[in-house]
């Protein structure tokens, strides 16, 4: 018996052995040869920090076409719940990496561990397409002022992108708006009135109680639907957990802004009015989605990618009128929604090659191919003759394919693989190729074609063609000198990380507490949170973040002073 309990208490073992047991293999694949010759088949292992439930191991049409063209098979693994931090921590502990990796915010850990290779020379030698897409000036891709290496090729954002449609803001069901005669809404108060009125008319939907508003506070999603909307609704742009003063580049935790306190006070009011789902802060991601999919949630404050799955299932079950429109609401009418403020050329989240990769040249050649026109069209449009046709020099999606894209998106994506191969730098919406066609399928006509009838009706009532028309346009704001702060690698300093983690623990505990409090207790809880976020430790963290922003502005030469 002695052995048994001894085993249990030797916890350091678990750190070490867990790391080796779950480390992402693949680089030891015997089929991998040490040649950069593109004609030999090769398997490239990949880890993505975002969840990707529709990944079909390249058995889809686009995947087959990619393998046929490049002899490359991607052995991809995606994080289950998204984020990838734990998985990457285990990788750095064990020193075993996949060949390529999309680390999101964990890039600092990988750089610190020396796991990523500098891509500068590789891109210059073997990356004509990458340079063509991104432009010859690669300086924005440099890691930091002190380390000018390029570790990742940005894959998250499209180059030259001018979005045609909006996916954020406040969401309301088309049915709700229709029944209330498409009222003009501008502030959160209007939002509240709409929810209230409709709920009084229809206490139940499909036999179940109506839920006027629910949010998704499970794990990191709390940032998307609870804390981020606080700055979006008070006229500040998205800089992650910080608000950055555009004049002085000083950073502070954005919840400390007095305007945002008022936003949370409004949520507190919504809860006490019985309009905010009491389960908001206890439900899990899947409960949230299943509520939306039941069609009885009238309003959301979310991004479309977060509830897409539920919306798809609403469409599949023929309840398009229960899907959502996007409205750029503000706390009061003194501010504007800055969702579309220009952040300059994309940087940040991207794909990197690790030291475990046996043949970086072959990999960069593949990534370069993925940036080619051929590959971008393949990934965005699919196979010619199957997923799209060329009529009079124009790429057109046949009606039956479009129908499946809208109403059976999950299965369609699994079969076709369209949009699943975002492995390299690529053009964004609104960029046209040499044939005069758009690279992506998001262009005005196509977006209109993808709208369901209730959605079209709602847009028509507001005199808009797409949801974006309701939002303030890009040219209403100056270009942000530091891009978007959440795209920058955070300072690699243990005391910064600890303080940051602590601030998040405080915020994720106190904000729900404040929202669910009695109205007269709201102030004391919120003020306590602000004082907990104003200790010396926190101020030091904010100072080192301010320094990062200043260094970035200097590195990029975007300082206007």
């Amino acid at each position: 018996m002695a052995g048994k309990w001894l085993k249990r208490i030797m916890i350091p073992l678990s750190v070490v052995s867990l790391a080796t047991a779950t480390a992402c293999g693949g680089s030891s694949d015997p089929t991998q040869t040490e040649t950069s010759d593109v004609s030999t088949p090769i398997t490239i292992s990949f880890f993505g920090s975002d969840a990707s439930p529709t990944w079909n191991n390249m058995k889809d049409d686009v995947g087959q076409a990619i393998t046929k063209a490049t002899n490359v098979t991607i052995n991809a693994e995606y994080d289950v719940s998204g984020g990838g931090t734990q998985k990457i921590a285990l990788m750095t502990a064990s020193g075993e990496y996949p060949d390529t990796i999309f680390p999101k915010g964990s890039i600092t850990k990988l750089v610190e561990a020396g796991a990523l290779i500098d891509l500068t020379d590789l891109i210059n030698k073997y990356g004509p397409n990458i340079k063509k897409v991104y432009g010859n000036d690669l300086s924005r891709l440099q890691y930091s002022k002190d380390d000018p290496s390029i570790y990742v090729i940005p894959t998250n954002a499209g180059v030259g992108e001018a979005k045609f449609d909006a996916g954020g803001g406040f969401e309301l069901q088309h049915q709700v708006m229709k029944e209330l005669g498409y009222p003009k809404i501008k502030t959160v108060k209007d939002f509240e009135n709409v929810l209230k009125e409709y709920k009084e008319k229809h206490p139940t939907i499909n036999g179940q109680p109506t839920i006027p508003l629910t949010l998704n506070a499970d794990d990191w999603k709390i940032m998307i639907t609870v804390t981020n909307p606080a700055f979006l609704a008070t006229g500040a742009p998205d800089d992650g957990e910080f608000y950055i003063n555009p004049e002085t580049y000083e950073a502070q935790l954005h919840y400390k802004r007095p305007e945002e306190k008022e936003y949370f006070r409004w949520l507190n009011h919504m809860y006490n009015e019985g309009l905010l789902d009491p389960e908001t802060f206890t439900q899990k991601n899947d409960q949230y989605l299943s509520k939306i999919a039941s069609g009885r949630v009238l309003g959301l404050i979310d991004q479309d990618w977060d509830y897409q799955q539920a919306e798809n299932s609403l469409k599949t079950s023929g309840m398009s009128e229960r899907t959502y429109g996007h409205y750029p609401l503000q706390l009061d009418d003194s501010t504007k929604d800055r969702s579309f403020q220009d952040i300059g050329p994309p940087v940040g989240y991207g794909i990197g090659i690790t030291t475990s990769a046996k043949d970086p040249i072959r990999i960069i050649k593949f990534l370069d191919w993925m940036a080619s026109d051929e590959a971008q069209v393949l990934n965005n449009w699919g196979i010619e003759g199957k997923h799209y046709e060329v009529k009079d020099g124009k790429r057109v999606i046949p009606a039956d394919v479009q129908e499946r894209k809208i109403n059976d998106n999950t299965n369609f994506t699994k079969e076709s693989g369209i949009g699943m191969y975002n492995f390299s730098v690529h053009y964004g919406d609104s960029v046209k190729d040499s044939t005069g066609n758009y690279y992506t399928t998001n262009f005005p006509e196509q977006i209109l074609a993808s709208y369901s009838q209730p959605e079209k009706d709602a847009l028509k009532a507001y005199g808009a063609t797409t949801w974006k028309d309701l939002f303030p346009a890009k040219d209403e704001f100056p270009v942000k000198a530091w891009g978007a702060a959440y795209n920058l690698p955070s300072p690699d300093d243990p005391s910064y990380n600890v303080a940051y983690q602590k601030s998040q623990d405080i915020v994720r505990k106190r904000i729900p507490e404040a929202i669910l409090a009695k109205p007269d207790q709201f102030d004391s809880i919120y003020d306590q949170m602000v004082s907990e976020l104003s200790t010396d430790e926190m101020k030091k963290m904010e100072a080192s973040y301010s320094q990062l922003i200043k260094d970035t502005v200097e590195l990029w030469g975007t300082n206007k002073k």
Partner: protein, 326 residues
């Protein structure tokens, strides 16, 4: 395992003779006599050495500022810094409190229910009924915590959860209670779901212990006029005592390392003050932030506490009941 083998072997080979020989220094004689038993224990000794002792060198990490991808000799030595940071962190004490609270609750209820259930099952006469109940009750053991957490959250939900529906329809409460949002309910919910999941499974070992009780004792007590409850109290329970105590001492050794699945899956932001446990704390502030050294310091602390608890419990039971595992 090796020590059990040894204990068992020394017991078997004529207690009086071998014990005396051991004391008088005839170790090699005994060794020769029992060489096959020793040989059989060798694989387990090797196993325990490789998996339990070799990784111990990793403890050195706790005295360094460990950075990945550098060799052992390139690491910076920081002495007791990691421990000082640990003991200065308020959150650590909160995590420690929650860990101990939930493990004590688990220990108490995780013992009472299976023991009582085993005794009750033993009294059931219909074999078919008994077997069915037993099987049904241990099935939840095979369900993973992810699923159990889903079932628990769903049944405690205010939006059509069965518990709230039931309480409301029985007019015990007027409005559904937000069970998952109240910190003070959290320990109870964890303990209750743990009991639900593991009770049947833990009963098996007690049922086995009961089977080992000599039937003649029951017959003799019947002759003396003992009823069913007397028999349970004076024969069944004392018959199970050794098993209960051995299991109890071992679980006390695991008090601080209760894992984190339950707390991780059932918890949410509103109840973190009650759901944060040591393992979760080590994951969040250690591993996830690449502070491997800090994580190691936490686990050394855990190990030390475990050993102290184990020896204390063992000592107390040895003195009071003459039963112990060492």
């Amino acid at each position: 395992m090796d020590s059990t083998t040894k204990q068992a072997s020394s017991r078997k080979s004529g207690e009086s003779a071998s014990a005396r020989q051991l004391k008088t220094g005839g170790f090699w004689k005994v060794f020769k006599q029992q060489k096959f038993l020793y040989l059989m224990s060798v694989p387990f000794v090797i196993w325990a050495f490789i998996f339990s002792y070799v990784p111990l060198w990793g403890w050195l990490m706790a005295f360094q500022e460990f950075r990945p991808a550098r060799s052992f000799f390139e690491q910076k030595w920081v002495g007791l810094d990691q421990f000082i940071t640990l003991f200065q962190d308020q959150q650590f004490y909160l995590a420690l409190r929650n860990t101990l609270a939930m493990s004590f609750l688990g220990l108490i209820f995780g013992f009472i229910f299976p023991v009582v259930f085993a005794i009750l099952l033993n009294e059931v006469r219909g074999i078919l009924f008994k077997r069915t109940v037993q099987t049904v009750s241990y099935l939840p053991h095979f369900v993973s915590w992810v699923v159990v957490a889903g079932i628990v959250t769903k049944s405690l939900s205010t939006d059509g959860g069965i518990i709230n529906e039931l309480l409301v329809s029985l007019h015990i409460i007027d409005r559904p209670i937000q069970f998952m949002a109240q910190g003070q309910w959290f320990w109870g919910i964890v303990t209750a779901s743990d009991v639900w999941k593991e009770m049947g499974w833990n009963t098996i070992i007690y049922l086995a212990a009961i089977t080992g009780i000599d039937q003649e004792q029951y017959e003799a007590s019947k002759v003396d006029g003992a009823g069913r409850f007397r028999q349970m109290w004076h024969i069944t329970l004392p018959g199970m005592r050794t098993t209960i105590i051995v299991l109890l001492i071992m679980s006390i050794g695991h008090l601080v390392s209760i894992g984190f699945e339950k707390q991780f899956l059932l918890g949410n932001n509103l109840v973190t003050d009650y759901s944060q446990v040591l393992d979760l704390y080590a994951l969040k502030y250690g591993l996830e932030m690449n502070r491997y050294s800090y994580g190691t310091a936490i686990s050394i602390f855990n190990s030390v506490i475990s050993i102290v608890l184990l020896f204390t419990a063992n000592g107390i039971f040895k003195k009071t009941t003459k039963e112990s595992i060492m």
